[in-house]
Symmetry: C3
Subunit: 140 residues, 3 copies
Amino acid sequence: MEWYKDTIQIRTQGKGLYPFTPGIQEIVQQSGISEGMCYLYIQHTSASLAVSESYDPSAKIDLETFMEKLVPEGQSWFRHTLEGPDDSTSHMRALLTLTSLSVPIDDHQLSLGTWQGVYLFEHRTRSHQRRVLVRCLGID
Amino acid sequence: MEWYKDTIQIRTQGKGLYPFTPGIQEIVQQSGISEGMCYLYIQHTSASLAVSESYDPSAKIDLETFMEKLVPEGQSWFRHTLEGPDDSTSHMRALLTLTSLSVPIDDHQLSLGTWQGVYLFEHRTRSHQRRVLVRCLGID
Amino acid sequence: MEWYKDTIQIRTQGKGLYPFTPGIQEIVQQSGISEGMCYLYIQHTSASLAVSESYDPSAKIDLETFMEKLVPEGQSWFRHTLEGPDDSTSHMRALLTLTSLSVPIDDHQLSLGTWQGVYLFEHRTRSHQRRVLVRCLGID
C-alpha cells in the first residue's frame, strides 16, 4: 500500500467556480501511484467542491447564475449576517454541494469522465486563500 | 489488502432515477471482499448518484417531480443551450446531487440501511449509456 | 494497514442539525490510527450528513430555515404522504445533502478546518434513533 499527501492552495477572487484539475493530476503523478483512490477534502464552510462540465465556458456561467438565484443573498430572515449579505448564503451553498470527493486512479491518472473537471466553488465575495487536502492511496 | 475494480454500465431512457443496487452487490460478491469500502464514481456531468428510499415507488416519483420544479428547464437566462433546454439544467441537477459515494462493506455485502437503494439520476431527456466506476477495497 | 470500525447512534428530537464531531474524534482516538482516512456513512433516507460552520449558532438556525423554505412541506403534488407532510420532503432534503463523507486523519485527529463541524441533518418531525457508520483506515 502506498500513501501520498499534499495540499492544494487556491486563491479566489470573488464568487464562482475555479477549475483545478491540473493541480490534482500533478499530485497523482508525483505520488507515483498507478492504481488506487484520490481523496479530496475542502477545509472550509463557505467554499465547496464540484465536478462539472469543463469544456464549454457557458456551462460554468449558468451554474454560477443558478446558485445566485437558488440561494439569494441578503434575505430579511437571515440571522447570520455579521460578515455581510453573502455570509449565511455561503454556508447554504456549501451545504448543497460537496465537502469531500473520492476519485479512482487508473494508469497514474484521475479517472475523470471525458467532459469532467474538478472545481472549487467560492461562495464569498471577498478574495480568500482556500485549502483542499489531497490524499492518494495506492494499492500496489 | 485486496482491490477489485469493475464498471457498471446503465442504459437510461430519459430523465429519472434508475436503481442499480443489485449490480453493485454482485460486484462486491465477485470481489470476495468480506470487509472494507466500496467506492462509486460517476463519469458524467449530466447524470449523478443518489441514495434514497427503495421501497415505495411514490417516493421516487416525488423526487423526480421535485427536481423538475427546483431546477426548471428552458429558462430565458440560460446561455448553455446548444443541446437543448435540458442541457444546462442537467449540470445544475448534477451539482446538487452526488458524483462519488463511499459505502462500507461488511460480511461480503454493502452496508446499506434497510430502506436505502443506490440510484443513477439521469438528467437528460435523450437516452444515454452511463458509466459508474466501482472500486472495492478489502482490509484482510 | 489498520482498520477500525464503529457506529455512532444519535437520538434526534425533531428536524434540525445535530453536531457530532466529538463522537467521531473519540473513535479516531480509540482506533490508534495516526494517519489515513475516516469514512462516514449514514444508513437513512430521511436524515443526512453535512459539514458546516460550528462556531456561531445563528449559522445553524439559518441553514435550518433555508431548508424549510427551499423544500416546503405538504405540497399538493406529493404522492408519498403515508407518514405525513414531512415524509417526501425528508427524502428531498437528504437528496440535496450528503450520504457519505470522507475526511483525512492526521496526527490522530480528523483534519477538519478551523470552523468546520460535522452534523447529522434530521429531516423528520418525530424523534428518531439514527445510525452513522464510521470506518477508519490507517496507512502505517
